[in-house]
Amino acid sequence: MLKGAVQPDSPAAAGAAKASRRKSQAREILEGCLGLLVVLVILVAFFGFSTAHFFSLTTFDSIANQIPTAVLIAVGMTYVLIIAGIDLSVGSVLAVSGGVLGIAIMRWHWPLWAAALACTGTGGLCGLINGALTVRFRLPSFIVTLGMLEAARGAAYLVTNSQTQYIGSEIAKVNDVNLFGLSLPFFLAVIVVIAGQLVLSGTIFGRYLIGIGTNEEAVRLSGIAPGPVKVMVFVLSGVLAGLAAITYCARLASVDPNAGEGFELSAIAAVVIGGTSLMGGRGSVVNSFFGVLVISVLENGLAQLGAQEPVKRLVTGAVIIAAVVVDFYRTRTRAKEGLR
């Protein structure tokens, strides 16, 4: 979690902080994402001045329509990383959930809402398997979800008959709902980010995540069973991958067995750019959102600069590493302040 600026050696400051606790909590979150906002503004300004069409509705539109899928996955990934786990299966889970969505609509002729439910349910089920195996057999989630990455991909091929299938205008309607040029998935993603942050910083469950990621044994010996909490986190990650599948399929109006390949890595990249620790115990959903934005702006901007895929990947990679290095120094400074 993010820490507010605490002035040590000053009882008055402590008292004031107590009084304006609620306000300072909002400020904490704001301060936490300030650095990312600055980076984002710089990026936008840079691309705005160095390309002809960056400040255009088209750019805005394409970013807004691209990110919901990535954002939904990143929110789940944030939770998983906070408990010091990892979920490599999200891309494949997205594909198999999307496949179920396709079947439900085309073969079973289910109404959209029921199909959507089956889709997120599939994601949740995959997450449940991930979580249950991780907790029950005390396996590293890296291994379990790596297995699921393969298994769910296989399932996606089975479900879709290994073919990309057009699922018709029904699903595309999801994307047609518009407000100021922003689609329904975009709003869904924003709502999930806000809810995700509220749960993280305002509920018992969120505090459990922080505790488990920091020192699971201390949490256990304080009378809190970490197992169910961890399972829940993987279920959430799966459900969000299922939701992401809906937005993905809606955008393309089809299901694709190869959907979501490599999404797990870009999600981890976004979350890490957002300052969430891979060691667990620390993270912010809002910042993960900005992390996704940074990557998206970067990719779109570079594309408009005429950069080819290799250069884009090179730069994105450098940004990820830079973000982690910056975070390392920030954490260390904070630790030093605590020691004062």
Partner: protein, 502 residues
């Protein structure tokens, strides 16, 4: 002839003095035993000789030459070796690789010569009676006794003139121990000097040519074997003036039985332990390192599985509903762990989070699982004030507090949880004197409120000062319980050693 090893005025302090002005002498071919209570400074002394630690002051000579090893490697170059009580084996490697890890036989190209390694390993293992053990077997599959033997074999396999054995028989069966004694005799005959640390006094009397007793970091006596009995050793080990804090504690009045434990077993360390804790009472668990005290309270708390045992709280049988720490906390039991850093604290989180942890699923749970933030802040502030935890604010990172204040923060967690039974495992380990007495005061106050405290401590002085009764655990059994006023330190130590006799 110059002694093999001579030390003069060795002194070492960490938080407080651990070793003060220790002079010591070892002749070639001599077994010189070191005995003393937990924390008397035995391991520190040997660590200095073996180059694991450097003394704050004092000098050493090896065969008349000044000797000041900067590290273990230098000491080994001088032929000084230590076999530690804790196992230093690499679990994933084979027995032979572990035996010769720092001097693996290899060919010119850097390839390990398996054949000669195996050969050397067989030799080394044969000396400790492990000739049937496959040198290629992974260490992870060995039992603790075998591991200990492998560790000893590694020490014996090398050329040395001074060998330090720190509790070598702690995990050995009597037969294995006999084999070890045989090897010790051989080394002696070859002129190797041996420093031998053990809690097994019978063993010491059998093996040692001379015995030195350490107490509170000082060498209080050195006697030839013939002039010492086990009882005398115990008396020398504890024979300090009684601390005045013991006299100061006013009598608390014990109420009805709060917690009753019958036949608690959790093999291999806990065997049929039964005891009762009264309201308003502080009950201490004394015993030697590794006697099973921590294991006993962990099994009681549900942190480790137990095999048998019946647990009653306020006369009600709660055995069926107590299988995890979650159950224990719900029933009103709190547990201040032995190692607060790895098992107690959220080190890089604010004090506030550390205090509130056990109440998250209690007092702090709001509607729909919301966290009652304001209540949390208020409670944290209250407990910081009440326990006088020295921190800049409740937002200060717990890891940046002093040991004493860290411990108070964990204590605050359980006081805030309002538990009825508080289990404290080594509550003042690594804490300065001031914070110690504050924690004693808090525990005393807690007991006076009609609750019960269970204290596990390796510091007998602490138990004598704090407890109404002291139960002694030896080799996993609760052997005797002493009442305040009717105990002597000698009796308690004798009880602690009672199951250890070979």
């Amino acid at each position: 002839m110059a002694p093999l090893l001579q030390t003069e005025g060795l002194t070492k302090s960490y938080a407080g003095p651990v070793l003060s002005d220790v002079s010591f002498e070892l002749q070639p071919g001599e077994v010189h035993a070191l005995v003393g209570e937990n924390g008397a400074g035995k391991s520190t002394f040997c660590g200095i000789v073996a180059g694991l630690r450097t003394p704050d002051s004092g000098r050493m000579w090896l065969q008349g030459r000044p000797y000041a090893p900067a590290n273990k490697r230098v000491a080994e170059a001088h032929g000084v070796r230590i076999v530690l009580q804790e196992l230093n084996l690499i679990e994933t490697l084979s027995v032979s690789e572990n035996l010769f890890f720092d001097q693996l036989p290899h060919t010119l190209g850097g390839w390990i010569s398996r054949a000669s390694l195996r050969e050397a390993a067989r030799n080394a293992l044969g000396r400790v009676g492990l000739s049937e053990l496959d040198p290629d077997a992974p260490v992870s599959g060995l039992g603790i006794g075998q591991k200990q033997l492998v560790e000893i074999a590694a020490g014996l396999a090398r050329q040395c003139r001074l060998l330090i054995l720190d509790e070598p028989t702690a995990a050995l069966t009597p037969a294995d121990a006999e084999r070890l004694f045989l090897q010790i005799q051989k080394l002696k005959d070859a002129g190797v000097g041996i420093i031998y640390i053990s809690h097994h006094l019978e063993e010491v009397l059998r093996l040692a040519d001379r015995v030195s007793v350490l107490r509170d970091g000082r060498r209080v006596a050195t006697r030839p074997r013939g002039e010492l009995t086990a009882d005398e050793m115990i008396r020398l080990m504890v024979g300090r003036a009684l601390d005045d804090t013991a006299a100061r504690a006013e009598k608390r009045s014990a109420g009805p039985v709060l917690l009753e434990v019958q036949n608690l077993s959790a093999p291999p360390r806990v065997r049929e332990v039964s005891f009762a804790l009264h309201r308003g009472e502080i009950l201490g668990f004394a015993g030697l390192m590794g006697a099973g005290r921590t294991e006993t309270v962990r099994a009681l708390f549900g942190a480790d599985p137990r095999q048998t045992g019946k647990i009653l709280l306020d006369g009600r049988d709660v055995t069926a509903g107590l299988h995890s720490p979650t159950d224990a906390v719900r029933l009103g039991i709190g547990f201040l762990t032995e190692d607060r850093k790895s098992q107690g604290l959220l080190l890089d989180k604010p004090v506030r989070l550390n205090i509130s942890l056990a109440q998250l699923n209690g007092d702090l749970r709001g509607p729909a699982g919301a966290l009652r933030r304001q209540r949390e802040v208020a409670a944290a502030q209250t407990w910081v004030d009440r326990l006088a935890i020295r921190c800049a604010s409740i937002e200060q990172i717990a890891g940046s507090l002093s040991g004493g204040n860290q411990q108070k923060a964990v204590l605050a967690r359980w006081l805030y949880r309002n538990c009825q039974v508080l289990i404290c495992d080594e509550p003042t380990r690594g804490i300065d004197v001031g914070a110690k007495s504050e924690i004693y005061r808090l525990l005393d106050q807690f007991a006076r409120e009609g609750k019960g405290v269970l204290v596990v401590s390796s510091d007998l002085k602490e138990l004598l000062a704090l407890c109404d009764r002291i139960a002694v655990i030896s080799a996993g059994r609760l052997v005797e319980t002493f009442e305040r006023g009717k105990w002597t330190e000698d009796q308690i130590m004798s009880a602690a050693f009672s199951e250890m006799k070979v």
